[in-house]
Subunit: 334 residues, 2 copies
DNA sequence: TGAAAGTGCGAAAACGATTTCGAGTCTTCG
DNA sequence: CGAAGACTCGAAATCGTTTTCGCACTTTCA
């Protein structure tokens, strides 16, 4: 690889001048700049990231914190889409990504970030009350969170209040009044969806018995299935069940089948996420589509903006609206 | 962060000695070594990766090349499992991972690898005839390929010959004689599966008309669906159709439904991969399960072994056997 | 006993960039 | 005409390691 010295020699200037020409310093002559830039291009020069990192403490590398309770990591149906889109966006800006784990470079996320000198970090799908995460968010490292708001920090959110609201509204319009809800663990996302749910119930004058609301975990078919079973066992069972996510909704169909319940004739169900898969399986799932690609891209762009403007102050809360996929798993009640 | 100099001062030795003590050089006294190691531990010292990288040209970083024809990247249902498992294994060995793209650090995979000074690279799910890939495999960078063998290079393979063979065998035993095949693009994996398929046909004395074998692409529901449609339109249609992968098999169920064909009563189908999802949807898909986690882990371990033993010569072809998930999408013919 | 071999350590030169500071030349203006 | 300022540029220090080489001292053995 060509180094800065090679270019210096070729242009009959000093390495300092080359560096300055390449980094846009003001004290270099106009023709010199052009000459240097030209030969750098010709020699296919790229600054050595190690050297630059050593000197400037920045790596052109973005950390990704991405752990969920079920530890499914990269295989997470929804977040893999967010991640993939963020990755593509970051690459387009010349950033590589590094997965942040608390087991490398120290004992915490922050240690790992400092160790690898990431320029910024994207935080998604974790327990935002985790003290390691809080420490990272409050650190000197620029960060953008996904689906959680910290005070005076930028984040990208899916509008979960509206999403849950619209889903209930749809069920209401289809004639459902007895609606069961199985929700995920009590994350901020869950809280928002529940608030949307309750708001809709008030607006449409639906009264939901306490026992219709059950807590499970996202992405956990076994546990969610157990909740669904309890709902089905009630003497006055719900006519529709809202699942925490598409994956568990699809996974729970085993249960209905075992009980000879047809969907949607005997029981209506809804998911959440709008995975491609939810529309590929039969009957098509009624679900709330979240724009995973949009979320990933916006988050990445925001982070790059913060990093390159060198001011952590541009705080913005970007909200992405979900939209309903009507599907075929909700029956119209007469 | 504590540097090597801080430790040198604390131990009243020179930085050189500290470095040597930490890196296991022989010319340091036994007590000196212990003293240095102890204070390094106490001061929570970690070598600066940038400095180390600059000097040694190695980054404790593993590159991942992972692009498929449909460009679904991280969202690929099967490979995300392979990847996730590889990632976990590599992290346990202290390696970070970096996705290799041809758009960063130059114009090719190799450029990017050199730019980031990755210690090794894991190559999966790409077009192995791509000249960029070939260049990378033949380069000085240690690498392990997944599902493709290069001469005198290590790789981890799923036994695709056997897998396809066993799938046909199962269909045969269930009484099927007219078996349609929709296979993926002509990668080495496809070639192996086809050879397993033909071998089984010979062994069981099944004659398959030419037109029953159709080429589609992996993971491409639209295209595969079109192939399936042609098979269904034949005057003597197959009684069973083998799909290239679970995802497209599940996706194509829209087609059967549209034609009022019940699975498996009217038509039998099989997938390939054995994704969790294939067993969560109804009816459970009959498919060949590949141990994605095992593949990822083995590949990672092999790569680490090659890197740390510093000899590229330990060539090994690790073969992972798939196993049949009988499922419920194949009908027993009378 | 003297040379050879073995031990333990440090000085210093890298690796490839960035950045400060000063120096030299040229213009400008009182 | 001389001083001040603008404009270009380079020397050198620095980031935190690794690694070579040489030096001093001790042990071994003919």
């Amino acid at each position: 690889m060509a180094t800065i010295k090679d270019i210096a020699k070729a242009c009959h200037v000093s390495p300092s001048t080359v560096s300055k020409a390449l980094n846009g310093y003001a004290d270099v002559g106009q023709q010199t700049i052009e000459r240097i830039r030209e030969t750098a291009r010709k020699m296919n020069y790229r600054p050595d990231p190690a050297a630059r990192m050593l000197k400037t403490n920045s790596s052109h590398n973005i950390g990704i914190v991405f752990e969920d309770e079920t530890m499914c990591g990269l295989t997470h149906e929804f977040f893999s889409h967010v991640l993939n889109s963020a990755k593509n966006t970051l690459e387009a800006h010349g950033y590589d990504i590094t997965f942040i784990s608390s087991k490398i470079g120290g004992n915490s996320f922050l240690d790992h970030c400092r160790y690898r000198k990431v320029d910024g970090v994207l935080i998604a799908s974790v327990d935002f009350h985790n003290e390691q995460v809080v420490e990272l968010v409050k650190s000197e490292i620029p960060n953008v969170t996904i689906d959680y708001v910290f005070d005076s920090h930028s984040c990208v959110m899916s509008d979960n209040v509206q999403g849950a609201y619209d889903l209930v509204k749809y069920l209401f319009e289809m004639g459902h009044r007895r609606i069961g809800v199985i929700h995920g663990e009590r994350t901020s996302v869950t809280v928002k969806r529940l608030s949307g749910f309750y708001k809709a119930c008030r607006d449409f004058n639906i009264t939901i018995p306490e026992k219709y609301i059950m807590e499970s975990r996202y992405h956990d078919i076994d546990r969610t299935s157990a909740c669904a079973e309890k709902l089905l066992d009630m003497e006055e069972r719900p006519t529709a069940i809202m699942f925490p996510d598409d994956y568990s909704a699809i996974g729970c169909r085993t249960l209905f089948e075992r009980r000879n319940l047809r969907i949607p004739e005997d029981i209506s169900i809804t998911g959440y996420d709008g995975l491609p898969l939810s529309q590929a399986t039969r009957p098509r799932l009624t679900t709330m589509h979240q724009d995973a690609e949009g979320i990933g891209q916006k988050a990445a762009e925001k982070l790059v903006e913060i990093i390159e403007s060198r001011q952590k102050e541009i705080v913005e809360e970007i909200i992405i609206k979900p939209n309903l996929y009507p599907g075929e798993t909700v029956r119209r009640m007469e």
